[in-house]
Symmetry: C2
Subunit: 356 residues, 2 copies
């Protein structure tokens, strides 16, 4: 079968021929329909994030997949059923977090991530997975099912952020998304769906005309150009935010988030900064604001099957125009390079598989 | 009646004669028994925190009080009942946070704090207070009732910290308290009472022999000298902490807290740093740890009547030896200066009133 890999010697994604996997006990065989590409994939391809499976010089890419069950293998799933796989798997014996269904809270070292770190991903005509890591999706969402994984990331982050404010009567009205990539835009759409938020902002650093700014404004949100208005100045230039969602991975933003928050606000941090960057911060002011204004910062990574299930419902509720505009292209395997292109006209791409 | 004040011209606490206040509608008159002194009082005395009531050049000190109702004034309280006053009051019309009973979540500008900022405190033979700001205390806790306010501060901080981890199955085992002042030691005692924590640490910078280190060790906790083991090195030197409670107000500690946390851990920040201190941090590493290890920072200030009520129960449960050792002296009004002394043999002091 066809599979898309990077190798230690060749970091360019390419199609190779690999044997179709056989499902083991408790596993189903899934025929892949589509696999999305996101910023993490670009980091994996560049060698900035993740790693190869133990003993392998090759990694099958892809962690945002949707497929149909090709062989239920006695698992309770149904042949032909549309499913989305979760990403984390135990590294060795499952830790207690896995046993509780909270793979996303597993400690470093206790997990691999398919298509990212230590385990092959889903960019192949077929993949196998334990049935409890396959989340059912309605047939009519099959084409967009690869968006369930990124949406689940935000489901988890918002769950953590709201939980952090659950000890008091929090009534958020204003949200600020840092980052106008596909995750930022999907999150902006999700926040727009919630009754909580009357006022939405999205930070980027793009010049108009730009397709991401168009989406921000179509959602009724305000675009903030970080080159003109640094994060810490947003409260003065616009208004402070009850919720900040950080999806840039720019380390300064994690700290500036505190300055952008309204009293009692929370910043959800999702971007993963690379490297070893030390810099100066307004340390006593940030500390003082956190304490005297009851502010919080909550880091969030990955998501579990419960978040995937919530994401299926959210995907069904998001407006068609938003999903159409966020997914700028879907490519066949003959055009793999195009799926990994990342320019100013590209928001999100996916690869389409055609095996029957 | 006698009252302890600082004035704009004289920052030394001293006894002055002031008229006994008259309770207004909904208010009771309280005869003061004892008022504790804490780090905030020292900052107020030094002019580093808080401020005078509007139009006044004098502030009656004291926010950690216990007293008995001298005139219930038709409020539903009972004459002779022991009560502890909460600290925050509306500045002008009550904001929605006050109306919800969440004075501690009121926005800056919406409140004054008695004895601290903009309103006279409780260091006087009598004070008045709205009845709903007076929390009943059993008679046998009257002597120690001035500890209800500081304990309530930790009740709130722990409530916020645990709430922030309530979206998943958090099972904390290790806690680290930064600061061996009276609040840090009371908190260590409170954590010791909870079933959660098997392993406790307390950070200070004192040489042995030292009365605070004695308390730390009597509680079965491990004393960590910050001059030998910086906060960020505690995971390697000892173990990472599921919960960090920051009570030093040293701004670097707010950031180092992230490094001291175990995966999925939370840092509760309570210390209030002064000044405008900028410094370098390991920015990308702190950001990355927050995200990839699901860590959180939660700032917490003040406390509401619900936290005071919880603190009354906690005070009753704390061991006598701890409370005896934390309160190093109780002084009469003739010895006001001694109550405000702050040396290495002083942990916590209180002033005692003798009016009948």
């Amino acid at each position: 079968m066809d599979a898309i890999v990077v190798t230690r010697d060749d970091r360019q994604p390419r199609v190779v021929d690999r044997p179709r996997p056989e499902p083991g006990p408790g596993e189903a065989l899934v025929r892949t329909l589509r696999v999305g590409v996101d910023g993490t994939d670009h980091e994996v391809v560049a060698g900035d994030h993740g790693g190869f499976p133990d003993g392998s010089d090759e990694l099958v890419l892809g962690h945002e997949a949707v497929g149909v069950v090709a062989d239920a293998n006695g698992t309770g799933l149904t042949k032909g059923q549309v499913v989305v796989p979760t990403v984390r798997r135990p590294r060795g014996e499952p830790s207690s977090a896995f046993e509780r269904g909270e793979a996303d809270m597993a400690a470093p070292g206790d997990y691999v991530e398919r298509g990212i770190d230590g385990a092959h991903g889903f960019m192949a005509e077929y993949f196998t997975s334990p049935a409890d890591c396959l989340v059912p999706v309605p047939d009519d969402l099959a084409d967009r099912g690869f968006l369930v994984e990124p949406i689940s990331i935000t489901e988890k982050a918002l769950e953590l952020a709201f939980a952090s404010r659950s000890a008091f009567d929090w009534q958020p009205e204003t949200a600020l998304v840092l980052g106008n990539g596909s995750l930022g835009l999907l999150t902006l759409g999700m926040l727009d769906q919630r009754a909580d938020f009357e006022s939405l902002y999205c930070l980027g650093r793009r010049d108009r005309p730009d397709p991401t700014i168009d989406i921000v404004e179509e959602l009724g949100a305000t675009y903030v150009d970080s080159r003109e208005t640094p994060v810490g100045e947003i409260p003065d230039a616009h208004e402070p935010a009850d919720l900040v969602y950080e999806a840039t991975g720019h380390a300064r933003h994690a700290f500036e988030t505190v300055e952008a928050l309204a009293p009692n606000g929370v910043g959800a941090l999702l971007g993963v900064p690379a490297g070893d960057w030390r810099f100066e911060v307004a340390g006593s002011d940030i500390h003082r604001q956190l304490v005297l204004q009851n502010k919080a910062l909550v880091g969030s990574v990955n998501s579990n099957a419960g978040h995937f299930a919530a994401a299926v419902d959210t995907l069904a509720a998001l407006p068609d125009w938003l999903l159409d505009d966020v997914v700028t292209s879907v490519h066949d395997l003959g055009d793999v390079q195009a799926a990994f292109r990342d320019d100013e006209t590209t928001i999100k791409t996916a690869l389409q598989f055609h095996s029957q």
